[in-house]
Symmetry: C2
Subunit: 214 residues, 2 copies
DNA sequence: GTACGGTGTTACTAGCGGTAACAAGAGTCT
DNA sequence: AGACTCTTGTTACCGCTAGTAACACCGTAC
């Protein structure tokens, strides 16, 4: 009686929540990250207070929205990361997966990473500053875990793996961001270049002028 | 007559501008990145429209503010980057310079990188999203130029250098951000770990379980 | 019937970025 | 002297935002 009622209501609420998130998604993808709560509510065919009842505040809505995309992206990355292949191949495949994702849906990516970039109007966009870090952090921790599991780094391996995880994710992120804006080369070339960097080609290359003393 | 007059006025305007920027700096460092134009104007002892006459809009003020810090940081980095030392030493020194800077003035750093992170109030903070990229971009391009000048990368070196420049800067940034938040190790250890990563230790390390086939 | 929990609305607050309109001082030209 | 202009400063406003309070409706349980 009470239980079935409750579950029914809960289900209904969950479905509604999903609908609202999808509406928010549409608006954000259309209007850019500075989409207002009013606009999202209108797109969902309702008014603001309902949105606030479901998500608390704008940050809550954003967090829910970001979690969806982040989870999806992380799942893809995990697949590439855990593939039964050689390390170099796995690294390249992971890089490529990430870059393909941001290439395929740049607006989603920009929304997750850069709060209010597009649009000429006011700048009260989503306060993604508080949340973009968590995305990068999650990716960094995930990668760190995989590194620690699969690579033999000797003593201090856990700490080293975490540094590397966050570092590599940052490299991927920044390079991808720059590449997405300028498109100076193909995705494959970018992947190769980054993998080369991780493979120590910087250390292996010779100096261009004079000796190391100058 | 006209010229001296003009230069006088220009000088006065420049001085005023600098005063305003210093006031803005104080407010941003005190109130966090969500400092309002009103608050900055009040700190400077004036009212909003003057601020707008000097900087156009909030983005302009932020850009001016960011340029000061960015220029200072870039100058330090250039010094470390151009030092007459071996490559590994130069890399470590540059990493350390950057990390020391963000360690010494985390509030400035957070302001430059993360728009509205602190504070519990409204989220109409500085719209740094539009401008944090430029900082990373500038660092990336700078590093790319140094790499291209000093490292012999064979054909396609320019493009490779740019990819690496942005990638390394991103690595430094993300790792530094994470490190600043968690402080899991000393600065020196972090520097060493990152340099090791760039030196190909990831590629050189052995697998932990099974062969590369699993 | 009536009380109730959920869904929805309208109407509002407080604060933001940004601007128009106006006032006052200082130097300049006639 | 008086009018003209330029800079510096103000007050008062606009339109927008996030977020909230208060009220209305509707199906169900007793």
């Amino acid at each position: 009686m009470d239980t079935t009622q409750r579950t029914d209501q809960q289900r209904s609420a969950d479905r509604r929540r999903r609908e609202l998130l999808e509406a928010a998604d549409r608006v954000v993808l259309r209007d850019g990250p500075q989409a207002s709560m009013n606009a999202i509510a209108a797109e969902a065919g309702i008014t603001k207070p309902i949105l606030y009842r479901h998500f608390g505040d704008k940050g809550g809505l954003y967090a829910a929205l970001a979690k969806r995309h982040t989870d999806a992206l992380l799942a893809s990355l995990r697949a590439a990361l855990d593939a039964p292949a050689e390390r170099r191949e796995r690294v390249e495949s992971t890089l490529d997966t990430y870059l393909a994702a941001i290439e395929a849906r740049p607006q989603v990516y920009r929304f997750l990473m850069h709060p209010a970039e597009g649009g000429q109007g006011g700048d009260q966009g989503f306060d993604v500053g508080k949340h973009s870090a968590p995305l990068l952090r999650r990716m960094g921790e995930e990668l760190a875990q995989v590194i620690e599991e699969r690579v033999d780094l000797g003593p201090g391996s856990q700490q080293l793996a975490r540094v590397w995880g966050h570092g590599i994710v940052g490299m991927m992120h920044a390079a991808g961001d720059w590449w997405l804006g300028e498109r100076p080369c193909s995705r494959a070339e970018l992947v190769r270049s980054l993998a080369d960097l991780l493979w120590g080609r910087l250390a292996a290359a010779g100096d261009r002028m004079g000796g190391p003393g100058f």
